[in-house]
């Protein structure tokens, strides 16, 4: 099935096989699998093709990770950009999975682009040994990078759809086109196997033009994310504590290599998300966007400043703790007449609110962010100062998107460790390190495991706000059925719409109908 939408390499292969039958000649106007893998340069170009998929709309391209936040109580996507609006409303189906404004529906796009990436990685893994002149060390590293990327793409599929056809050979329509779904457990097992294999080979860091490639830390951190998803209530109903300890150990492995890889928290939370500070100590794995060539950037600035399709909601404002570390209801710092005063400093570095100054002008509930009254600063170059660099064009933003950053590793570790053994000093240390960078006080001592769980969840929501991770957090915590069955409100506390979430259906995405038409052996998820 996946063959129909796989890489240019496969396409070339099919063309080549057709030519061969007729004339038995090799075309010289295009690459084929037979002719492509003959030099180190081409092999590395093939590997670049494996990475290039990260720029696709179904993965992290355009504004997809920013829009993913809109399927949570944090943000609102008013025009169904990327198809996230219907997910937020709970009206997504296998049929409307392809529909989205600006970019196609994420449910169809993610499936498609993950398999495009998998096809490219499998092609590289199956062919790179044919390259006659290429150092073994580089070949092995290239294979490890492709193995990591394959694991990333499969982990995305397993995270959103559950089990999918597990294909590890290079694309072949005849043998793979009608494969049924493997179980989710089988896919996850392969992902973990790939990540271990990649981590054993990949270097802890790179220099020069190689910065941005997958590292050992990236493989270990993705392993931690996968294991955390497995340990969480959605997938661990019996609360098997070994799953939590496995996740904690995986995150700890990344922390243990902090000195060799140079990991740490970037000192300034706001500046962390600016182009000048890309690829610094907090980056574990990121998507490299550039504006040096048209079309290789993201649309982050366009979305945040002008389109407003990731508009923050009042619920997000109210979720921020006060600067003394207390919730608004318990804090003397809270001023009901101005709910924006004295919040966690990260709020001011993340969100534009009415009365705030943005691009040199004081904002109101209707201008310039007319949809909710709020705008997003994070992952955008725009802030309080005026700017003459107004980006009105998709593909014009160059800030890299961090798929995994070190603060998330600390948060993953703290959460898993707290569940596995309780709120020990390592849990406190991880959370307090993050709060310290933000300028927030340390956690209160002697929290119960349950209180620590709540504090960690609070911390994840605040620290990672608008980065596209919260959707999977509320899924794996199984809190989506509560927080997504609710009205959403703008800055004036007016209701925008009422969302719904079917806990018997919506924790998993449907298999897009377009894929089931190609491959009728793909069983649909429950209730779709």
């Amino acid at each position: 099935m996946k063959k129909l939408h796989i890489s240019y390499i496969l396409f070339s292969l099919l063309i080549a096989s057709g030519c061969g039958k007729l004339l038995d000649v090799k075309p010289n106007d295009r690459y084929t699998t037979e002719t492509f893998w003959d030099s180190e340069k081409k092999a590395m170009a093939g590997l670049a093709g494996c990475y290039a998929v990260l720029h696709e709309d179904g993965l992290f391209g355009y504004a997809t990770p920013l829009w993913e936040e809109t399927a949570t109580p944090n943000a609102y996507n008013y025009d169904n950009s990327g198809g996230f609006g219907v997910i937020a409303l709970g009206t997504h189906t296998a049929t409307n999975a392809t529909t989205g404004n600006i970019t196609g529906g994420i449910i169809a796009e993610r499936w498609l682009h993950c398999y495009v990436g998998i096809g490219r990685c499998n092609t590289l893994l199956a062919n790179i040994d044919k390259v006659p002149v290429m150092a073994d060390a580089l070949k092995n590293r290239a294979k490890a990078e492709a193995t990591f990327l394959r694991a990333l793409y499969y982990s995305m599929l397993a995270t959103y759809y559950g089990g999918v056809p597990l294909i590890l050979d290079e694309p072949d329509l005849a043998t793979q086109g009608k494969l049924p779904r493997n179980t989710r457990e089988e896919v996850v097992t392969q992902v973990l196997k790939d990540l271990d294999a990649a981590a054993a080979v990949l270097p802890p860091k790179y220099t020069g033009n190689d910065i941005g490639r997958a590292t050992k830390g990236a493989a270990l951190a993705l392993k931690a994310r996968v294991l955390l998803f497995e340990a969480s209530p959605l997938n661990n109903p019996s609360n098997d504590l070994t799953k939590w300890s496995d996740a904690a150990a995986a995150a700890k492995a990344v922390m243990d290599m902090a000195s060799t890889a140079g990991y740490g928290l970037f000192p300034n939370y706001r500046q962390l998300f600016m182009p000048a500070n890309e690829n610094k100590q907090e980056t574990v794995f990121d998507v490299q966007f550039t504006v040096s060539q048209p079309g290789y950037g993201s649309a982050f600035d366009l979305i945040c400043r002008q389109y407003g399709t990731n508009a923050p909601l009042r619920d997000m404002i109210e979720s921020y703790l006060m600067k003394d570390g207390l919730p608004a209801a318990e804090s003397p710092e809270f001023n009901p007449a101005n709910i924006y005063e004295n919040r966690d400093p990260r709020m001011y570095q993340t969100i534009v609110y009415p009365g705030d100054t943005y691009l040199g002008e004081v904002t109101t509930p209707s201008a310039p962010f007319k949809l909710t009254g709020y705008g997003v600063k994070k992952y955008s170059i725009y802030d309080s100062e005026p700017s003459s660099n107004l980006i009105n064009q998709a593909g014009r933003s160059e800030i890299n998107y961090m798929v995994i950053r070190y603060a998330d590793v600390l948060l993953m570790y703290a959460e898993a460790q707290n569940e596995a053994v309780g709120p020990d000093e390592n849990v406190y240390k991880a959370i307090d390190t993050i709060r310290g960078r933000a300028g927030m006080p340390k956690l209160a001592a002697d929290l119960t495991q349950e209180e620590m769980r709540a504090a960690i969840r609070q911390e994840r929501r605040t620290e990672l706000a608008f980065e596209g991770f919260y959707y999977n957090d509320i899924r794996r915590w199984k809190t989506a059925e509560v927080v997504m069955n609710a009205a959403i409100r703008n800055s004036e506390d007016e209701q925008i719409e009422v969302r719904s979430f079917d806990k018997t259906r919506d924790y998993w995405w449907p298999i897009p109908h377009t894929q089931r038409e190609l491959n009728p052996n793909l069983e649909q998820n429950d209730k779709y």
Partner: protein, 336 residues
């Protein structure tokens, strides 16, 4: 000497067809609706597009259509929707989010593009889509070439697409060829100088056309550096040898005689389209209120020229003759 050049040809046949099939507006006594109260004389829209005195052609995305609005009556009285024309159902997605609509062929046709990738030539009289094809890459605008072929510009695709216009071909069998064009948003034919202009990102480029009807191709000729980036609209200044040019921050005019670029005396920043006319026609602009669209066509100072709540107008062009791009007599033609 330039004069207001509203098209007045409207043959009897066109009038009959347009009257019978064209009215998209339920308003007005002629339709049996209650008219305005006694003593008031609300203007009525023209009977046909050819009768327009002051009309605006809108790329309107709420209904994925081209709409023609009459300023005096404040009504949209003509529209083209692909699903109500002869566009095949499987190609309707090509016409999602109408991105430009230029009156061409002496006001008898409209050249349409949509972000979905579609390019169409529509006959106003009967709303027939006489030619359509797919460019893709977020198509933003198109232009007629002198032999009737069409060129379009696509933004995220970073290309121009040249189509061989042969109305006997199915949409999927149309010959086309892509040429690189950074952040392609616009294309304008220069009849006098016989070149195609495109403001591509931060450069104003000119291209020569090979006039090979069967295998049309464009070759870059000159490049003029532009201030700013993300050039958006490029459209002739009415009655002058000059072009309107908009980008993220400014609106300029580029005088082809003096080769000078000057900031225009209109609202600046994030202007999606500009269109001008003779003295009786204010320069009209589109400035988004939400995302990339608005419900209002404004003049250069921000006064309302046409407004209809809820519309998603992306571009607006006066329904006027375009002597910059086309000859005085300009009948529909196709590749032969």
């Amino acid at each position: 000497m330039k004069r207001i050049s509203i098209w007045m040809f409207g043959s009897m046949m066109c009038s009959i067809i347009a009257c019978g099939k064209g009215s998209a507006t339920p308003e007005g006594p002629g339709d049996g609706n209650p008219g305005p109260g006694p003593g008031t004389e609300e203007p009525k829209p023209p009977a046909t597009v050819a009768d327009c005195k002051k009309c605006i052609v809108l790329a309107e995305q709420l209904h994925n259509r081209v709409a023609i609005a009459d300023v005096a009556s404040k009504q949209i009285f003509w529209e083209w929707k692909p699903e109500e024309s002869n566009v095949k159902p499987e190609h309707l997605a090509w016409f999602t989010n109408t991105s430009d609509a230029k009156p061409v062929y002496n006001g008898k046709y409209i050249l349409v593009t949509a972000s979905g990738g579609g390019v169409a030539l529509v006959r106003i009289a009967d709303k027939k889509t006489v030619f359509y094809a797919y460019a893709g890459g977020n198509t933003h605008s198109a232009e007629l070439l002198p032999d009737g072929n069409i060129v379009s510009a696509s933004s995220t695709g970073n290309f121009m697409t040249v189509f061989r216009v042969d109305t006997t071909k199915a949409a999927t069998e149309v010959y086309s060829k892509n040429f690189p064009l950074a952040f392609g948003h616009n294309v304008v034919w220069d009849e006098k100088n016989q070149v195609l202009w495109s403001a591509a990102d931060h450069q104003l480029l000119s291209f020569t056309y090979n006039f090979n009807c069967g295998e049309p191709a464009l070759t870059q000729k000159d490049a003029v550096s532009l201030p700013g980036k993300d050039a958006h609209d490029l459209f002739p200044v009415y009655g002058q040898n000059a072009l309107w040019l908009t980008n993220t921050t400014n609106v300029y005019t580029y005088n082809l005689d003096t080769k000078k670029l000057e900031e225009a005396n209109v609202l600046q920043a994030n202007i999606k389209s500009v269109s001008s006319g003779d003295a009786a026609f204010p320069t009209i602009i589109i400035r988004p209120k939400t995302s990339w669209w608005t419900d209002e066509v404004m003049d250069a100072k921000g006064n309302t020229v046409f407004y209809q709540s809820g519309l998603k107008i992306y571009k607006a062009r006066w329904y006027l003759k375009n002597t910059f791009s086309y000859p005085a007599v300009h009948d529909m033609k196709q590749c032969q």
